[in-house]
Structure formats: C-alpha cells, structure tokens
Amino acid sequence: MKLDLLFDFSVNKENKTVHIVREFNAGLDLVWKAWTTAELLDKWWAPKPFNAKTKVMNFEVGGRRFFAMVSPDGQERWFIQKFTSITPKTNFKTINTFADKDENPELPGSDWDLNFSEQNGTSRVSITIKNESLARMERMVESGFRGGFTKGLEQLDELLVTLMNK
C-alpha cells in the first residue's frame, strides 16, 4: 500500500481561505462515491471516537446534507451542507453552516469548492474553503476532535502496522 500520499493544508488568514489537497490510493469512481454518499461519509467524516450521522442527504443541486457529529457521550452538533453546483466526478460546491437539531442554520456559512481528479489510479481531492472564520474553526475542533484525536491516531498507528506486516 502506498502510504506517502500527498497532503497539503494551508490557511490564508488574511483572506480567510483554507486550501486542502489530498491524494487517495483509489480510483476516482470510488473516491467520488465516498465523498457524495451518506452511508460512506458517515464512516469517515468524523474523527474517532466521534461519529457522523447523516439525517438527510439529497446529492443534487439545491439539495443538502443535514448531519451531526456525535460525541462519545452522545452530544450532537448539527451541520448543513447545501449543494450549489455539481459536475459529476469533477467538482461540487457547497455552503456549509452550523445548525441546531431542527435544521435552523447559523449564518453566515463557509463556501466550499471541491475538485476531483485521477492519475494512474491515484485520486486527488483539492478543496478551497472560503469565508472560514477562526471562531468556526474553534467550534469545529470542539465538535469533532477534542480528546478524540489522540485515540484516532493510535487506531491509525495500529492499522498501519497491520497493513505493513501483511
């Protein structure tokens, strides 16, 4: 298994933009599916031991994904991802907002632009998040991360060892 997959992460504080690029050791069909199917998203979107729970998902222009990050003690933080543009297996754009459990959004949100491509069986996902605020980043960290990350890393280490011994 190829483990040296590209991961680029940069934050432009001046114009409040986050750039993320990541390669995946899988074909575009599968990677696109993993990013656009609720059942698959729920399996990886929340860093362990948090869980992602998608309540509504219509992957179409004007549609939305309404989902929660659930903490180990059952606390739910809700998010809305509204799909504003979709070019299959190439690009999709969303407006992301925090929400309450009744799907009332907390505006303003951030604008996401996700690009997908494939080369020699490796897929590349390039994400630009605009209008991200530090306050929102803080909340994101709290809702899907705090206390959970170390555990997630340990799980990953174990997985990597298992894979490399194969």
Binding site: L5, K16, N25, V141, F145
Partner: protein, 106 residues
C-alpha cells in the same frame, strides 16, 4: 459579543498596526502618523484588536501604549494546527474505508 480574530486580522490597516507594534509599544498618536487616516480611525482599529486580545494597553504617565500579545498570535497558529489535524484524521479514516471497499470488491 466575542470577536472573530480572523476578522480582526483581515483588515489591512489592522495588520499594519500589528506589524508596527510587534516591533515596539506605541501610542495611538504615534501609530496614526503612519497612516493616512484619522486618529479616531486608528483608535477604532485598536479597540477591535483589544477586544480580540491581540493587543494590550499599558499606561505610562498620561500616555497609553499599545503592545502586541505575542501569545495570542501564537494561539491562532495553534488553532489552525488543530484544525489541520481534524482533516488529517478524517482523511486517514477515508484511506481505511477506501482500502476496505477495494478489498471487498476483489
């Protein structure tokens, strides 16, 4: 209301103020000389930076000096690093999922 630090540093004048007071503590009047703007406008920027706790005031005699809170600036980087780690963890899980699905298909 809690201010967004990104908002604070998104403004070019405020970034210039941060750059100036990073070198030495300055009074609003001294700062205003560096800008083509009123002393009131500079004071307003300083107020926003103070609310974000990016600068602190120090009284020396009748003058108020503004000084940069270096630790707060570092805190911003710390938050960004944590945010990056969320993405890292998330992507590692996706790697795992993709590998599992590929194995099932074989």
């Amino acid at each position: 209301m809690r201010r967004d630090i990104f908002q604070a540093i998104a403004d070019p004048t405020r970034r210039a103020i941060i750059a100036l007071i990073a070198l030495q503590a300055m009074t609003p009047n001294a700062l205003a000389e560096h800008f083509d703007t009123t002393r009131q406008a500079v004071s307003k920027h300083l107020r926003i930076l103070t609310q974000c706790e990016l600068v602190k005031q120090e009284h020396k005699g009748r003058e108020i000096y503004y000084q940069l809170e270096i630790d707060k600036m570092k805190e911003i980087d710390k938050w960004i690093e944590q945010f990056r780690k969320i993405w890292e963890a998330r992507f590692n899980q996706l790697d795992e999922l993709l590998a599992t699905i590929k194995k099932q298909k074989k």
